[in-house]
Subunit: 330 residues, 2 copies
């Protein structure tokens, strides 16, 4: 019988990260931890799509620099994003002389990239890999929902797609937080069809992989300083805690959601941040720095993804979701 939790015996080190985010993210609670905060979310480009790509490219370049490495030292970039055909990542990788593996598990792409990157480094296939993702409010909004010009009203269960990108270098050598294990998620679908309520759709997938991680690793919630989900938002986070409680795990004391951390949430407007950039920015800035300073000893990152497209919704499908859990130790 297979185990879904991969143990990294050589404990790849997270030797450097870089984050880029928009002005709205910059004035949020973790704004001071973000390396590059933009004045303008177009980032000097003509379209939001090109701005998103430039953020990912900038994060990749900065992370390599922060690691003290050159492009030729990086065995692979593992990256993906929310735009159709992950063009932001593919075009960003055109800027670098580095092999590219495109991945996509919606907003759980950051943890998926850490998982695959961890295997490449831990197994001795690459000395260094770079994991990256990002998203942009305006490109996501017009691709998934409505033209921005409509000024559409947002329902109370909606979240706000993060404008930002994060990149991290995993290395066989060096110092930094260690990637010790990863639990591969599976597709979970509780039948939620409201594409404005992704926290509800994704919470069961987060629960399923977190429970599997605890059972297979023998660890308990109290072993972690933080069990941090990607972008469940305030409402989804409550559902996640309830579902975990039903399964016998009390994560009330250690759980927080990146979507709840990134904005000064005005509850009547939205449930918090979402998007692949949400966990990418929060984990690679605030949480990484807390791990570096050993203020957190153990962190489980459970980035969550809703695997819908506008076509699947239009054809009447519910929203399958996934989450991968990756465990770091300082």
């Amino acid at each position: 019988m297979r185990k879904r939790t991969l143990i990294f015996k050589n404990k790849p080190k997270l030797i450097a990260t870089a984050t880029v985010a928009g002005p709205k993210e910059g004035i949020g609670p973790i704004g001071e931890y973000i390396e590059t905060v933009l004045d303008d979310d177009l980032f000097g480009e003509k379209t939001f799509e090109k701005a998103e790509r430039k953020m990912i490219s900038r994060a990749i370049g900065k992370a390599i620099g922060n690691a003290g490495l050159e492009e030729r030292d990086i065995g692979a970039i593992i990256a993906g994003d929310l735009l159709n055909q992950i063009i932001s990542s593919s075009f960003a990788c055109r800027d670098f002389d580095i092999p590219f593996l495109g991945v996509y598990n919606a907003c759980s792409t950051m943890s998926e990239a850490f998982l695959i990157g961890g295997v490449l480094v831990d197994g001795g296939y690459c000395e260094n890999v770079l994991c990256a993702t990002g998203s942009h409010f305006s490109s996501a909004e017009r691709q998934y929902r409505y033209p921005l010009e409509l000024g559409n009203t947002r329902p109370p269960q909606a979240q706000w797609t993060v404008t930002g990108a994060g990149a991290a270098v995993l290395s066989a050598e060096g110092t930094g937080p260690k990637l010790v294990s990863a639990t591969v998620g599976k597709v979970v679908d509780y039948g939620v069809t409201d594409a404005n309520n992704m926290g509800s759709a994704m919470a069961p997938a987060a629960m399923e992989v977190t429970c599997t991680h605890f059972k297979e690793s023998g660890l308990k919630p109290e072993d972690y300083d933080l069990v941090v989900t990607g972008d469940l938002g305030a409402f989804g986070s409550r559902i996640y805690k309830d579902l975990m409680w039903e399964k016998g795990f009390d994560i009330g004391k250690c759980h927080v959601d990146c979507g709840e951390m990134i904005y000064n949430i005005r509850e009547d407007e939205f449930q918090g941040g979402s998007g692949a950039g949400c966990s990418a920015v929060v984990f690679n800035s605030y949480i990484y720095q807390k791990l570096l300073k050993k203020q957190y000893k153990r962190v489980l990152l459970v980035a969550t993804g809703a695997l819908l497209s506008s076509v699947s919704s239009q054809q009447g499908d519910s929203i399958p979701s996934i989450a991968h859990a990756v465990a770091f130790e300082s």
Copy 2:
């Protein structure tokens, strides 16, 4: 300095495959090698998108059965497809109690999945993994180009997206062709902007990774019975051979393109097959069976992907491309 060619010391075995394809593919030169040929490319579904998903799901289920395994034996499905947000793969994986890693490198997804799956098995992280992808002419046509109802004329450099899916089980134990190495591709862009001429856009990426594979592995074209590209088509294949010749490698005797093998090509209509399903169907049917019978001893699969989206084309971008090379031995 990094090497881009990963060596699989434990040589994961390709213990089983499965293929599903449409009626047009079924009457082509390799039709008799395809396991399931559909009478109707809607496959009993109401939409082409749902038919595509069902083909991938069927291929996955059949491959597990052909391997004599159960769902619980498979450590991960590594899959992706051409539809926005890779919904065909994500929804197909909802049918199985198996962890899922979504990948996307356009039509090079089959070789990308083999590469990542190979690392998971070779490194001892999974006993068995399943690699899958697929495409559908009608869902691709209406997503990337025009509504089918328009009956749009196709230019002479165009290719025909394959309706089909392929899946393969890589295993640490068992018998079958062995995956011995893989060279990770990088994004290459020679500035081609004609989205109807993807063979030209992708040929340089195929050349780049093939040359890197030969240089790093010390192998020569004559060491391979077949250097098989994914979907360059007739025109792209000629460009690829010319580019390889310029770099000092004569692959004229061992090169063939899956897109040239799958249809009875009437040259005035199209350049051959394309799509993620093209290499997935050809490799996992005809080529796999030739490897099994040891009629081929060494095959290098170089599936090729054009990393564009309709948005990137509309915003004036050229077509970045990628190809990954995976080497099998019988």
